[in-house]
Amino acid sequence: MTSEPTQITAAMGGNAEVVEALGRRYEAGFVTDIETDYLPPGLSEDIVRQLSALKQEPEWMTEWRLEAYRHWLTMPTPDWAKLKLTPIDYQSISYYAAPKQGPKSLADVDPKLLVTYEKLGVPLHERARLAGVAVDAVFDSVSVGTTFRKELAEAGVIFCSMSEAIREHPERVRQYLGSVVPTGDNYFAALNSAVFSDGSFVFIPKGVRCPMELSTYFRINAINTGQFERTLIVCEDDAYVSYLEGCTAPMRDENQLHAAVVELVALEGAQIKYSTVQNWYPGDENGVGGIYNFVTKRGDCRGDDSKISWTQVETGSAITWKYPSVVLRGDRSVGEFYSVALTHHHQQADTGTKMIHIGKGTKSKIVSKGISAGRSSNSYRGLVKVEKGAEGARNYTQCDSLLIGKQCGAHTFPYMEVKNPSAIIEHEATTSKISDDQMFYCRSRGIAEEDAVSMIVDGFCKQVFRELPMEFAVEAKKLLEVSLEGAVG
């Protein structure tokens, strides 16, 4: 959840230089001056042990991390994505940064931090009550406070930082952590498993409908640090939760690494709705700086008749590598993926989803909208896999790309593996441009160029925005407007 972006309005005389110079403004790009505890840069078994000790973790957790670390050492860096990036020096990154005074409760949180979140519009304090959204905020590596504790506890809902969950609810964490994304799943998941610093833990007990939207807000502040958060959401039988995630980072010339893992577990009849608005710093208009965003998100429809739905609006990061997936294990379980990914200037995104049909009568739906502007590259990569036993599985995929300008690219890589002959798979894909005709039509009705672009892009994304909770939909729309500044001309 970022601060309300105010739009630059400027005369757009079709002058390409002026338009370029306007560029884009990144509103969340400030740095908070706060005393920070770091671990020294570098990665080794020793660092993993120190990190685990700093967080006062039990022995099993330390061992779990070490095992992941050892596995990671044996893995090659993945190179199959359509991304150009300079190799990451994992020894130059600090794997832990925390504001110096550890908070004991919300009242103890450093006022400077609260000001930061206020600037970003996170309803952390009493404003939370008005907003009606329970927030867990992760600043660099540490969770700084969770609102609405009491109200949630009354409903039997656990919503706390991952560090706290490991201390307070070790048996639950141990039961589910790594059960969806195993430590050795992929290069970045292994790295995350070794060094994850914090994140959120959500547990909704049997039959409970979580009384409010839950939200986590991530921010990278410290220099030369990576952020490795780990989120685990478990919904027991017939439980329901809607979870929102927002991200920002300051403007810096160096690339910063973000490698998160999110695991969702839905038991019988449970429903999880997970929405993301990702606005990490994308780098400047020349492609300098920006966040490398390598994220593994996976949901497991473990029980029959369960449902997991991912909705994402991705406008930030220099590089996005992300494929929120659903394993449809339970019979008649449902997986959904709604995505808007926007790239501008030199941003690169390789994103999509995986739907793995295992249970009978499972259904999945994929709606992906990619928007490319400037010199950016935007790829959809999706896998629909139907296993032998998935009798009557159905998938519908719709994949649309919108190009703005002449120097950007859009690519679609759909993969299908079908092992059951009763499955029905549909795939539709379109690529279009904002046409001169559309622009002239809007302008001839009195609508200025930039507003016309916003309107056309908004229309293009309608199907996905409809899936977002109201306040997020409004924010997502504004975010697209800001991100597209200077895209026409």
């Binding site: 009705r445 009195g446 199907q463």
Partner: protein, 256 residues
Amino acid sequence: MTMLKIENLHARVEGKEILKGLSLTVNAGEVHAIMGPNGAGKSTLGNVLAGREGYEVTAGSISYNGVDLLALAPEARAAAGVFLAFQYPVEIPGVNNTYFLRAALNAQRKQRGEKELDSMQFLKLVREKLKVMQISDELLHRAVNTGFSGGEKKRNEIFQMAVLEPQLAILDETDSGLDIDALKQVAQGVNTLRSPERAFLMITHYQRLLDYVVPDFVHVLADGCIVESGDKSLALKLEDHGYSGIGTSQPSGAAA
């Protein structure tokens, strides 16, 4: 009072000269029909007036209410009261028709320094116009022109015109592709909007529309110039004799 004064207009499209010295004067309250064979430059005239990119004016001038129209951006022309009903209305998927129209109206009002309409005020206005235009409100809830039939698209253009209330309305072959019922509806819409303050420029290939919207003046455009001007009877003469043989008489240029 003179609203539009086009003098010796020359315009190029993709390097090719289409308009070659066109002159025309339109006064408030008048309805002018521009007729002519394919490729004469009829649609080019409409696009130049509305300010479409790629239409390069190489000589001549267009004065609109005393202002140099060519110096204005398309959206500023719209705010000043110029409206072009498109020959091929453009689809904008996902953008609600009503939302689009309200954004357009408010953008124009804002440019004119008028107060923007809120949703309630706008809804009231739309209801009034719907009645006049005999348009089903189902059309309002769909995306702009998306999946509309040819007739629906043309009626939607006229509906937009009714809501935006322009001073100078240019209808670019609004009658083409319409069946007789749709044509009558469009004509009725135009007739309802006729007023002493408003002028119409109807670009058409056939005289059929002119049976329902009776023009004050008819001009024949051929090879980039107006070659003959007259009243309604000129259109009937064209229907009998075709465009061949037109232009041998003295071009009258301005008709007012």
